[in-house]
C-alpha cells in the first residue's frame, strides 16, 4: 500500500503555534482523504521551527469505484421531467437508462451510474492546495511579489517549498503534482539553516527523517524535548546541581531549535541575593533558559542552562559567553529594581493608587483597596482571623503592583509583596496574606489556609464580583475579561477547603450597595455545578438544593449536595425520588384540571385506607426528624429520616386510588401528596433532580 509524505518548509514558525499546526495538518489531510474514500492505516505529523511534516501510510492506490442507482421519472412522464433526469444523472438519452417494473404505481426509469475511482495521487493533488490555502493559523501573513495582488496565499511566515511524494515502499514514489502560490511540489528539502543548508532529495518518510537527522534536524518535537531534558539533567548533575524542570519552557524551547545543543553558563553569586523567583522569571522569560538548584540547600545556584541551535565551532564558548553577558545585564536590572523597591515602604506607595483607575465605572484602585479592607474586616471574625492584621494585609495587598520588579515581571505579583512586607518587619500572617490573597488562581493552585489570608482573599474576590455585578458587566459566553468565573470558583474553594460558614447574600450586601445578589448567587450555583461536574459528581443536585429558600451558605450547600448524592445511590433514595416525582406529576395534572393548588394539611377524619393514615404519620415523623437533623446540619441523618418515608409512599401508591369518586376524599388525598413534596423539601427540591 502506498504512503504519502508531505512537508511544508517555511521561515521560522512561532514556537507556540507548532504543535497545534502539526495536529491541524494531520487532521485536515486525513479527514479529507477519508471523505474521498481513501482510508489509511496510520498518520503522524511533526513540526520544527521551519517545517510542518506529515506521513500517511497504508493508503489505497485508487479510490473505490462507486455504483449508484438513481430512480427517475415514470415511463411516459413529461419531457421536462425526463430532461431533468438526464441532466442530473449525466445520461445522454433514455436508452442508457433501464426500466423498472412497478405494477402498482407504473413503470419508471432507473439510471445506473458507475463512477470509476480515481488514482489516489490525483485526488491528493487536489486536496493539499486547498488545505494549504485554508490552513487555520492563529495569525497569517502575505509576503513578496505575489502579495501585490489580492488573493495571495497567507501562511504563518513565508512558505518556501513543498515536498509531496506518494508511492509504494518498493518503488520510487511519484511527486504529487500541484502548485500553490508559485511553489511547485517536489521532493527537495533543506537541512539545518546553518549546519546543513544544502538542498537534498527525499523519497519517502523513512529516508526523509533519516536524511534530515544527517542534516542536523531532529524532526520529532518529542524527541527534541527528550534530548533537551536528558542533556540538561545530565549537565546539571555532572556539576553537582539539579535542573529545575519547567514543562512550559521545555515546550517553547523545543520549538526554537531544530538541533538542540544544551550548554551551561553561570552568573555572579552576588545576584543570589535577589529572590529566587525573580531570578528564575528573569532567566526564563527574557532568555528562555532553565535554572538549577543546589541540592544541598534546595536553593537556586548561580548557573543556568541554555539550549542553542548549533554545534558551534568553538564548542559553544562564544554562545555561553554571549548568554552570560545578557543574563548579567538582566540580573543587574532585576537587582537594581529589587533594591530600589526595598527603599520605599509599601504603605508609602498607597497615595499613588488614588490616580490609578481600576475601572471607569468602579473608581480608582485606592477606592477598591478601601473596599477590600472594609469587607475583609467584616469577614475576619467569621473565619477566625485577627481583625487588625486582616486590615493591615488588605491595605498592603496590592501595593507591590507599583514596585519595579512587579512592573517588569507581573507573574511575581503578591510574592514580591510578601518579600517586601517581611523586609519591613510586617507580621508573618500579614506578609503571607499579601502573597496568598490572589489564590487560588486555577484548579491546581493552592488554597490559602491562614485565616488572615482567607479573609483578604475572600474580600478581594467578592469585591470584584459584586462590583462588576453592580455595573452589570457579567461574563457572557467565552467572554470573561475580568476573570469573574475564576473569582467565584476561588470563593467556593476557599469556603469548602477551609470549612467556612459564610452567608453569601449578607456578605454581598456588605460589599456593594446596588447589585442583584440573587443573580450573583445563581452565578455561584452555576460555578458550583461546573466544579461538581468536573469532579464527576451530579450537578443537578446543586439546582435541587439551591431551589430551597435561603440557601446562600456554600459550605452547607456542598454538604447537603454530598449527602443527597449518597442517599440517591441507595434503593430507598431511588424509590423515594420515584415516589415523590409520581406524587408531583399527579398533583401537576390535577392542579391543572381543577385550576387550584392543594396546599394545607390533610384532614385526618377523611382518611379511609390504612395506607393513607400510615403515610400521613410517616410524613409527620419524617418532617420532624429530618427538620431536627437539618437544624443540626446533620444531613446524613436527615437523609436517613427521609428513607423512612419510602415504604409508606410505596404502599400508598400500591393500594390507594388518589382520584377517589368522593370529591372530598380526592382533595384530601391530593393534599397528602402535596405533603410528600413538602416533606422532601426539608432536604432538597426533588423535582429539580434528573432521573
Amino acid at each position: 500500500m502506498p504512503d504519502l509524505l508531505l512537508e511544508l518548509f517555511s521561515e521560522e514558525i512561532p514556537a507556540r503555534m507548532q504543535a497545534k499546526a502539526a495536529d491541524d495538518l494531520r487532521k485536515m489531510v486525513t479527514d479529507k482523504l477519508v471523505a474521498e474514500g481513501l482510508v489509511y492505516d496510520g498518520a503522524k505529523s511533526f513540526a520544527t521551527p521551519r517545517r510542518l511534516a506529515l506521513t500517511v501510510h497504508g493508503l489505497p492506490a485508487r479510490q473505490p469505484d462507486l455504483k449508484d442507482e438513481r430512480k427517475g421519472p415514470k415511463v411516459g412522464a413529461p419531457d421536462a421531467a425526463v430532461q431533468g433526469f438526464l441532466k442530473a444523472t449525466g445520461l445522454k438519452s433514455l436508452d442508457e437508462a433501464t426500466i423498472q417494473k412497478d405494477p402498482k404505481k407504473g413503470d419508471f426509469y432507473v439510471a445506473l451510474i458507475e463512477k470509476a475511482g480515481r488514482p489516489a495521487i490525483d485526488v491528493i493533488a487536489e486536496i493539499i492546495p486547498v488545505i494549504i490555502r485554508t490552513f487555520p493559523w492563529p495569525k497569517a501573513m502575505r509576503w513578496g511579489e505575489l502579495s501585490a495582488k489580492p488573493g495571495a496565499l497567507q501562511w504563518v511566515r513565508p512558505l518556501h517549498s513543498v515536498v509531496a511524494t506518494f508511492g509504494m515502499e518498493t518503488e520510487d514514489p511519484d511527486v504529487v503534482a500541484f502548485d500553490v502560490a508559485g511553489i511547485t511540489a517536489g521532493q527537495v528539502t533543506r537541512g539545518h539553516r546553518f549546519m546543513a543548508p544544502a538542498a537534498f532529495s527525499v523519497r519517502r518518510f523513512e529516508d526523509y527523517e533519516a536524511k534530515l537527522f544527517d542534516a542536523k534536524v531532529v524532526l520529532d518535537p518529542q524527541r527534541r524535548k527528550d534530548i533537551i531534558l536528558a542533556d540538561a539533567k545530565e549537565l546539571a548533575f555532572a556539576q553537582g546541581f539539579e535542573l529545575v524542570e519547567d514543562q512550559g519552557l521545555l515546550d517553547e524551547v523545543s520549538g526554537l531549535v531544530e538541533w538542540p545543543v544544551v550548554l551551561m553558563g553561570s552568573f555572579d553569586e552576588a545576584f543570589l541575593s535577589i529572590p529566587g523567583e525573580v531570578i528564575r522569571a528573569t532567566i526564563r522569560n527574557n532568555q528562555k533558559c532553565f535554572v538549577v538548584n543546589d541540592p544541598k540547600t534546595g536553593k537556586l545556584a548561580n548557573r543556568f542552562i541554555l539550549v542553542a541551535n548549533i554545534e558551534a565551532s568553538d564548542g559553544g564558548k562564544a554562545i555561553v559567553a554571549g548568554n552570560e553577558r545578557v543574563i548579567r545585564a538582566r540580573l543587574s536590572d532585576a537587582k537594581f529594581f529589587y533594591e530600589t523597591d526595598l527603599k520605599t515602604k509599601l504603605e508609602d506607595r498607597l497615595p499613588k493608587f488614588e490616580h490609578i483607575v481600576f475601572h471607569e465605572k468602579l473608581g480608582t484602585q485606592a477606592e477598591r483597596i478601601a473596599r477590600i479592607e472594609r469587607l475583609a474586616a467584616e469577614i475576619a471574625p467569621l473565619v477566625g482571623a485577627d481583625v487588625e492584621k486582616t486590615k493591615r494585609a488588605a491595605k498592603l495587598a496590592k501595593t507591590d503592583l507599583l514596585t519595579e520588579v512587579v512592573g517588569e515581571f507581573p507573574e511575581v505579583q503578591g510574592l514580591m509583596g510578601k518579600y517586601y512586607a517581611l523586609a519591613q518587619g510586617e507580621d508573618q500572617s500579614v506578609a503571607g496574606a499579601i502573597e496568598d490573597h490572589y489564590k487560588p488562581q486555577g484548579p491546581n493552585d493552592r488554597v490559602p489556609s491562614d485565616p488572615v489570608a482567607i479573609a483578604v482573599a475572600l474580600a478581594d474576590k467578592i469585591d470584584i464580583l459584586t462590583g462588576f455585578w453592580s455595573i452589570d458587566e457579567k461574563p457572557t459566553g467565552s467572554k470573561d475579561p475580568f476573570a469573574l468565573r475564576r473569582a467565584a470558583l476561588g470563593v467556593i474553594r476557599l469556603v469548602a477547603d477551609n470549612t467556612i460558614r459564610l452567608p453569601l447574600l449578607t456578605t454581598f450586601a456588605k460589599a456593594a450597595k446596588s447589585h442583584d445578589g440573587k443573580d450573583l448567587l445563581s452565578f455561584f450555583a452555576d460555578r458550583l455545578k461546573v466544579q461538581l461536574r468536573e469532579q464527576g459528581a451530579r450537578h443537578d443536585l446543586v439546582d435541587a438544593v439551591f431551589a430551597l429558600e435561603g440557601q446562600d451558605d456554600l459550605l452547607m450547600i456542598v454538604r447537603r449536595v454530598e449527602a443527597l448524592g449518597k442517599f440517591l445511590e441507595t434503593d430507598d433514595g431511588k424509590n423515594l425520588l420515584a415516589g415523590t416525582k409520581r406524587a408531583s406529576n399527579i398533583l401537576a395534572i390535577e392542579e391543572k384540571k381543577d385550576k387550584r393548588t392543594f396546599d394545607g394539611a390533610p384532614d385526618a377524619s377523611l382518611f379511609v385506607a390504612d395506607e393513607e393514615k400510615q403515610l400521613a404519620r410517616a410524613i409527620i415523623d419524617t418532617k420532624r426528624e429530618a427538620g431536627d437533623a437539618v437544624a443540626k446540619e446533620d444531613f446524613a441523618n436527615a437523609m436517613t429520616a427521609m428513607a423512612k418515608l419510602r415504604p409508606a409512599v410505596d404502599a400508598f401508591f400500591d393500594k390507594v386510588k388518589v382520584n377517589d369518586d368522593d370529591a372530598k376524599v380526592r382533595e384530601n388525598r391530593l393534599k397528602l401528596l402535596n405533603e410528600i413534596r413538602a416533606a422532601t423539601r426539608a432536604v432538597a427540591d426533588f423535582s429539580k433532580i434528573q432521573d
Binding site: E12, M141, E360
Partner: protein
C-alpha cells in the same frame, strides 16, 4: 574586510559598524538615505519607511535614524538605556525571497559568524498603535541577545501593503556593544582610534543624555507641548485638506508636509507622556488622534506619484 583599516572595523569602531552596514546594503542596491530631519520615536517613522511602504512601487532603502524615546532616559546612569539612540533601518519592497539570508550576511559583514554564534528568529509580532500599522516577524537573537527586529509589514497607516515590504531594524548601540565586547554603552569606541585619539560614545552623548533626561522628565514645557500637539494636529489636517487636487480626491499634492506634522504630534505626545501629565484614559485618546492623522496621511500618499498614481 581584511583590507579595511583597523579604525574602520566594526568590532573596534561604532562608526565603522554603521559604515559597514551602509556599504553592505548599498552593494545590494539600496538607496542610502540620511536620517530624517525631525524627532522620531523609531526608524519606522521616517517617510522613507512609513509612506514608501505603501503603494505598488519597488523601494529599497537603508538609513540610520536617531530615535528618541523620552521615557527611556536614565540621566546617563543606566549602561543599556538611552532616550536617544541610533537605529539602522532597511526597507525592501517587495520583500525579496532571500531576505533572511540577506540579513544573515549583513551580520557576517559586521563580524557575527553564524558558525560560532547562535542566531535565532524568535516570534515577535509588531504593532504600532500610533501608526495604525502591524506586521509579523521576529526578534533576531544572537547568543540570547536581541540584535534586530525583522518585520513583514502587512498594514501601514491603515492601508494594506500591496506588495508587502520587509523591514529590518538593527539596534546599533546594542550590536556595537556586542561586537566590541563592551558592558556599558558609554564605553563604546566611537571612532575606532586608540589612546588620546579615541572618542567614546560617552564623550559624544553622555552630557546629552543627562540634559535631555532632565528636560524630558522635569522641565519640558507642558503648556507649550499641549499647544504644539494641537497645532501640529490642526496643521496636518489643514495640509491634507488643501492638498487634494480637485474635488474628486484622485490626486494629492501635499502628503509629505502633512505627514511631517503627524510625526511632530507623535513626538510631542511622547514628551507629554514622559512628563507624566497624560492620564491612562487620555493616553488612549491621544494615541487614537495620532493614528487618525497617520491614516489620513497614508490615504493621501497612495494618491501621489510615489504612492503609485
Amino acid at each position: 574586510m581584511d583590507s579595511m583599516p583597523s579604525h574602520m572595523r566594526p568590532e573596534r569602531s561604532f562608526q565603522g559598524l554603521i559604515l559597514t552596514l551602509q556599504r553592505y546594503w548599498a552593494d545590494y542596491g539600496c538607496v542610502i538615505l540620511q536620517p530624517y530631519d525631525m524627532e522620531v520615536g523609531a526608524g519606522t517613522f521616517h517617510p522613507a519607511t512609513t509612506l514608501r511602504a505603501l503603494g505598488p512601487k519597488c523601494w529599497n532603502a537603508a538609513y540610520v535614524q536617531p530615535s528618541r524615546r523620552p521615557k527611556d532616559g536614565r540621566y546617563g546612569e543606566n549602561p543599556n538605556r538611552l532616550q536617544h539612540y541610533y537605529q539602522f533601518q532597511v526597507i525592501l519592497k517587495p520583500s525579496p525571497p532571500d531576505i533572511q539570508d540577506l540579513y544573515l550576511k549583513s551580520l557576517a559583514a559586521i563580524g557575527i559568524d553564524s558558525e560560532l554564534h547562535d542566531i535565532r528568529f524568535v516570534e515577535d509580532d509588531w504593532e504600532s498603535p500610533t501608526l495604525g500599522a502591524w506586521g509579523l516577524g521576529w526578534e533576531c537573537w544572537c547568543d540570547g541577545m536581541e540584535v534586530s527586529q525583522f518585520t513583514y509589514f502587512q498594514q501601514v497607516a491603515g492601508v494594506e501593503c500591496a506588495p508587502v515590504a520587509g523591514e529590518l531594524t538593527y539596534g546599533l548601540e546594542r550590536l556595537a556593544m556586542y561586537v566590541q565586547g563592551v558592558e556599558n554603552v558609554y564605553d563604546l569606541n566611537f571612532n575606532g582610534r586608540d589612546g588620546d585619539q579615541k572618542v567614546t560614545y560617552g564623550d559624544v552623548f553622555l552630557q546629552a543624555e543627562q540634559e535631555y533626561s532632565r528636560h524630558n522628565f522635569e522641565h519640558a514645557d507642558t503648556a507649550m507641548l499641549f499647544e504644539q500637539f494641537k497645532m501640529a494636529e490642526g496643521a496636518c489636517r489643514k495640509y491634507l485638506e488643501a492638498g487634494w487636487d480637485g474635488d474628486k480626491k484622485e490626486r494629492h499634492l501635499m502628503a509629505l508636509p502633512a505627514y511631517d506634522q503627524c510625526i511632530k504630534a507623535s513626538h510631542v505626545f511622547n514628551l507629554l507622556d514622559a512628563r507624566g501629565v497624560i492620564s491612562v484614559t487620555e493616553r488612549q485618546s491621544y494615541i487614537l488622534r495620532v493614528r487618525e492623522l497617520a491614516k489620513a496621511c497614508g490615504d493621501a500618499w497612495v494618491h501621489t506619484e510615489a504612492g503609485g498614481v
